[in-house]
Amino acid sequence: MKYVILRAITAVRKRLSRNIFTFLAISLSAATLAALLGITASSAAQTAARFSQLESSDIGVSMGDSAWSLSENEIRNKIEALDNVEAVGTLNLPQDSSTVVDVRSSQWGTHLSASVGVVTAAGLAARGAKVVSGVTFAENPLADEDLYTVMLGARLAKELGISMTQGKPLVTVRGVELAVIGIVQDSSTQSVLSTAVLLSPETALRLKMRPTSQSLLVRVKKNTAEAVGSVLARVLNPSNPGDVGVKLPSSPTKLRDSLIADSQSLTFITAGIVTVVSAFSIANTMQVAVVERRKEIGIDMALGLDGRSVAAQFLFESTLLGFAGSLVGMLCGAVIVAGTAMAGGWPFVLPVYTLWIPVFGLVVGALAGAFPAARAAKVNPAELLRSA
């Protein structure tokens, strides 16, 4: 065995110029494989991180019309007493009310269609919306003037030509003049409030635009939505929790897992193709080697080497090529993954099973070399005497 191994190593070493391209092809394949596995894993981690950022922790709660008669503070106190609740407030989003009105700037005469949201200052805060100028309903400076007040989404205000530097800007909605007290920018991940007319529940009631059900937004800590959501209805209406609707945020975990699985499937298909190409490359090289070295094989057999040893030598050569090529390729692939991760700002992740690539290369080398090795063992040394 030792002789066979030494002979194979010598043959690979001494025939380096003939083996180098196969070695490079295997290395390239292994590097591609390692890079694909590593980049897939790294990008999966990045994808997961991004999905995690997108993951909402907002719970929607809807209560019947009678809830409007309750104090918002009373409702908030009940909910905020629960663990993991960060903020609560009334937020009837425009898409929920489906009410669209014509909004006209009293000053400029410009007008646009806009949807209507019914919100409180607490609701805006829970949503993460920012008052970019003016004040919220809670700080309404005109409360004593018995005026109808309104807040406008930032984009709507801009298109109407309204800003809070214009003194007391007014808009007309359904024939009623409303004082604009603030301009709102929706939260960083959403935009619906930025194009809406936002009314306080009181103003909405006066304009007969208050929704029949009251919606609340409950913002909770990450990964606690399900736990909080499960007790909300009972807390808000202990006698009849079924009257309280609780809408948990949709989880992107399944989508994320599906995307990652798709990506991994693609990687494994590519890896399979790369492996087959490498195997053919090794098989081809060994076939050529057998043809080129028929004389050498014949001499060895004439000198007393048996067919099994000849086959073992060629088998070991192909195995050595597969192992060494894939080892170097794996290391190169790891460097590529590190570089790509560094450039993309991803975490560097190299799956542990990447370390199996050289072993895999060894097995592929052995399988690819099996047929040429069997052919080598069948060389008839008598041909040497006939030809030379």
């Binding site: 010598t10 057999m301 000198l303 007393g304 067919g307 040394p381 008598a382 030379a388």
Partner: protein, 265 residues
């Protein structure tokens, strides 16, 4: 020119193949004894027909004949690289018929050496490595192998070229390397296939001298050749024609019609 150290009795210049076998029955066990040997390559090529002869240790034997006369096939059978279709071949007293390939390989490894017309050295191994390679196959390694390799390389006069690769050697040097490789395992039977066929006259003569100097009481040298001068230098000559052993000639004699053609030069 080397002499026969076996001290075989003088023979008449021409004897029949059958009588040669009978003559040797009284002596030592021959290293090679073939009787009624035939070899047929399907479908109808009769390479050898009813060939019988013996070779004793200490003899140098030339096998001569025209191209296609069956010389190389006979050498392949003597070297246990091919098996006869019928007849018997006893190597060192052992009937080789029906022996498993493992045993035949062992005979080749331990008792037979080959020298080819085209040298057939391993091109990526040096002179020394080629000899070591043969020893390695025979299971001789380490210091012992190194010592034997040095000794055999010195025997063929290539001490200065021991680390040279075959492609940098002259034809004569390559054949000397092949001889060193062939004798590394101290074979009982040294088979040479046209060993001087690729060499100029002067180099051929020196190679022939070297080969015949290898003959000793412990071995025999068989040379397949077209060259009548090479054949004449051997103690015995087996003349082949159309697969039949037509004559066995003993003693040095260059004036015999050996059936070779002019292309053999």
């Amino acid at each position: 020119m080397a002499t026969n150290e076996a001290g075989a009795a003088p023979e008449s210049p021409v004897v029949s193949a059958r009588s040669a076998v009978a003559e040797n029955e009284a002596g030592a066990v021959p290293i090679v004894a073939v009787e009624a040997l035939t070899k047929t390559f399907p479908p109808t090529t009769h390479a050898l027909t009813d060939v019988s002869f013996e070779i004793l240790l200490g003899q140098s034997v030339a096998i001569i004949g025209k191209s296609g006369s069956g010389k190389s096939t006979l050498l392949s059978i003597l070297g246990l690289l091919e098996t006869p279709t019928s007849g018997t071949y006893r190597f060192a007293g052992t009937d080789t018929q029906g022996l498993p390939s493992r045993r035949l390989t062992a005979f080749r490894r331990d008792s037979i050496g080959y020298i080819f017309q085209a040298y057939n050295l391993v091109e990526y191994l040096t002179v020394r490595e080629n000899v070591l390679h043969a020893l390695d196959i025979k299971g001789i390694r380490g210091e012992q192998a190194e010592r034997i390799a040095e000794e055999k390389i010195a025997r063929v006069g290539l001490e200065e070229r021991r680390d040279a690769y075959p492609q940098t050697l002259s034809g004569g040097e390559q054949q000397r390397t092949a001889i060193a490789r062939a004798i590394a395992g101290a074979p009982q039977l040294l088979l040479c296939n046209e060993p001087t066929g690729n060499l100029d006259e002067r180099t051929a003569a020196s190679i022939l001298d070297l080969l015949l100097s290898m003959v000793s009481p412990t071995n025999a040298v068989v040379i397949v050749t077209h060259d009548s001068s090479v054949a004449a230098a051997c103690q015995r000559r087996l003349v082949m024609s159309d697969g039949v052993l037509t004559e066995q000639i003993s003693g040095s004699d260059s004036g015999i019609d050996d059936g070779t053609d002019e292309e053999s030069a």
